[in-house]
Amino acid sequence: MLGFSNISLSNFLFWATQKKWFLYALGLGVLLLSLPTPHDLQIKAKISIIILIVSLILIIKEPIPLPAVAIFILIAQIYGGVDTVDGISKSFMSDAVFFIMGSLMLAVVIIKQGWDSRIALGILKFTGNKTAGIALGFLSISAVLSSFIGEHTVAAIMLPIGMTLIRFTSANPSKVKNLSAVILFSIAYGCLIGSVGTPSGGGRNVIMINYLNQAGISISYFEWMLRVYPFIFIQIPIVSWIIMKTFKPEHRILDSSVRKLVIKVARSRAITGRNTLTVLIFILILSGWVFFSEKFGLGTIALTGVFLYLLGGFVKWSDLNKHTHWGVIILFGATISLGTSISKTGGAMWLADQLVYFLGTFMETIPFFREFVIIVVTTSMSNVLSSSATVAVLGPINLNLVPEILNIGLLTAMSSAFSYFTAVAAPACTIVYSSGMIRAKDFIKIGFRVGVISILLLIAYVNIYWPLFT
């Protein structure tokens, strides 16, 4: 056909099939661009909203590599005249991007330090040998740790501990399907629950702090904890109970497997001076986050920690380079830049106005409807996108919805952690799913229950607890 060989035609068709979502997104973008601009929307704002819609499709469906999406966001903003080259470059790099970079690198250092055996011993001392207690222990420890060091790090550390316990209970995984689900969901959901507890729990929290700062609102590490941390303690027992009720474990007591795990851990290498030093450096970073993050930024302090680990030879640059996904860092930089542009051009305000126009009456008349809408929209997006990307794109819009900016910011960050429904929604879920011991449909089964309860709890929490701060 037209001189093309069958092989080249076949290659083209394959490319088009693989990139179909890119072509759909592009087509939708062109269509939206050709539609008349609403009178109350600036052309720059319209273009930034269209870039947002196209990018969301590209991020969710991944027809092209994520770094390519990042590059698309940046160049489309410049070619579309949304901002100048300098403006886009400035908004691209922020403390939130520093933090995501530092946090991904710190994960590599921490995971390689062999803290897992100590954590395993700690859990078992604390929980005893009853399955319910062990599940609660896994969930609590995962939640508390992830509130400081990030969900992905904790999930990677906890997963083999949980898997070992399951293997010691039965060498045949099909005989302990429910027990596997109980242990692994306790880890994954514990990580998600804890990740909102402090600003350093996840990139999404720092992105929100970034937007709050742009709106002229400052919140300290401690103040964030004061407002958010109690919610973790409320969720822990309830979610643990739901997990136990949903997957009734085959064994109520794990006596011999706990003993075997204790013996295995006891045989692992002893703590060295270097291990202690890595812990001390991490305590230093944590103190920096608590006491100096408002002055220097969370990202700067995280990178300082990485610098110290590199300086002390605790990690090789080649390891950091291999395990740090630079493409994801660039993508977060680009989505934050797009979020900033949408906010600056008035696009965020326009989108918020549209939401208020359509749902304003319900928001005024139905109690808690406003919170419900924000939580449901954020939760839905974070289950198909990623929590950080959700906050990066929804943050500026949500902050324009109501005058209580701080509350709405925290609410958005908190509900973005409700990524309970799918295996791909959050790194912690993907990590436990990659063990092969739980099925994708298990996420729907348990995720729906935990999701609905968490949404209701959060609505109650913000209306009962947060008014105490005003």
């Binding site: 069958n6 035609l9 068709l13 991904l104 062999g114």
Partner: protein, 294 residues
């Protein structure tokens, strides 16, 4: 001859591996057994990799290794690999990342030239296509997917013959159905059918479907050559003529006990993409193994 056998799990891939290895044996082919694991979101891929490193330090294999180990055990139980290798056991430590997003291990074969085990992650069609292009495989053998589009994508994009092992059972399939037509390349199809028939010790049933039985064009020089080849191979065969729509007649004739060996469509990829093809219709409708020769 190079054969690629795609497996997915211990529970569903036994027929694929069994038939695949019989075919590999018949061709004395270089054989690769591949497991394509689920695609991991790019957001989490590096973190999952880090978690898998951590799992390995606790003596857990990354997902997919158990499937390869099961395949190794199958080869070992059926003495399809070198005795020394069987004695050593599954070479977990030799399963190395080759820098092309795949892990692989080489095993010396006995009945076939040698056997490679490969582990990849991602979209199954894209990964198989890539593997076929890199390894220049002649036949790809795999189980039937529940996804309807999968058959289309496999036929459309994988540049090798495709053998879809569907409901294969040693006892049940006693014939090969070989639909013949006037298109070029029927000799290659016949050769494949003969090899498979010899490997499975079953006979061939040649089917010619005419739109109008009165036209005698089908028994041309090519047709006679194919029949002669089958006769000389020593395989038992029978010839049947039918009148009607080609795909329908093949589906009807295949019933539930014949392995179909037929030629891929010679339409241009664009036409095939939009209009479909006879092999695709047969593949979608039949519940029997089908080898489509390209």
């Amino acid at each position: 001859m190079k054969i690629l056998i795609a497996i997915g799990s211990k529970d569903f891939s036994t027929p694929t591996l069994r038939l695949g290895m019989k075919v590999a044996q018949a061709f004395h082919a270089k054989t690769t057994i591949i497991d394509v694991g689920e695609k991991i979101s790019e957001f989490s891929s590096h973190l999952v990799e880090l978690a898998h490193d951590q799992m390995e330090s606790w003596d857990f294999d990354p997902p997919g290794v158990d499937v390869l180990e099961w395949a190794f055990n199958y080869l070992s139980d059926n003495k399809l690999i070198d005795a020394k290798q069987i004695e050593i056991g599954f070479p977990r430590s030799r399963l190395i990342d080759d820098g092309e997003d795949r892990k692989l291990v080489y095993l010396p074969g006995t009945v076939c030239e040698n056997v490679n085990l490969i582990l990849r992650n991602g979209d199954i069609v894209a990964e198989l296509r890539d593997e076929v292009q890199v390894g220049k495989y002649d036949v790809t053998i795999l189980g039937k997917s529940r996804k309807r589009n999968m058959s289309h994508d496999l036929l459309q994009y994988i540049n090798s013959s495709i053998f879809v092992v569907n409901n294969y059972d040693n006892q049940k399939f006693d014939k090969i159905l070989l639909p013949l037509n006037e298109a070029s390349g029927m000799m290659k199809v016949a050769k494949y059918a003969i090899r498979v028939a010899l490997a499975l010790k079953i006979e061939i049933e040649i089917l010619t479907v005419l739109e109008n039985k009165s036209s005698n064009q089908i028994k041309s020089y090519n047709y006679n050559k194919v029949v002669k080849l089958i006769r000389r191979s020593g395989v038992q065969y029978a010839i049947e003529e039918k009148e009607g729509v080609v795909a329908e007649q093949i589906i009807k004739k295949a019933d539930k006990n014949k392995i179909i060996v037929m030629k891929a469509s010679s339409m241009s990829p664009i036409k095939r993409y939009f209009k479909g093809s006879i092999p695709l219709s047969v593949m979608n409708a039949c519940d029997v193994p089908i080898l489509i020769v390209k």
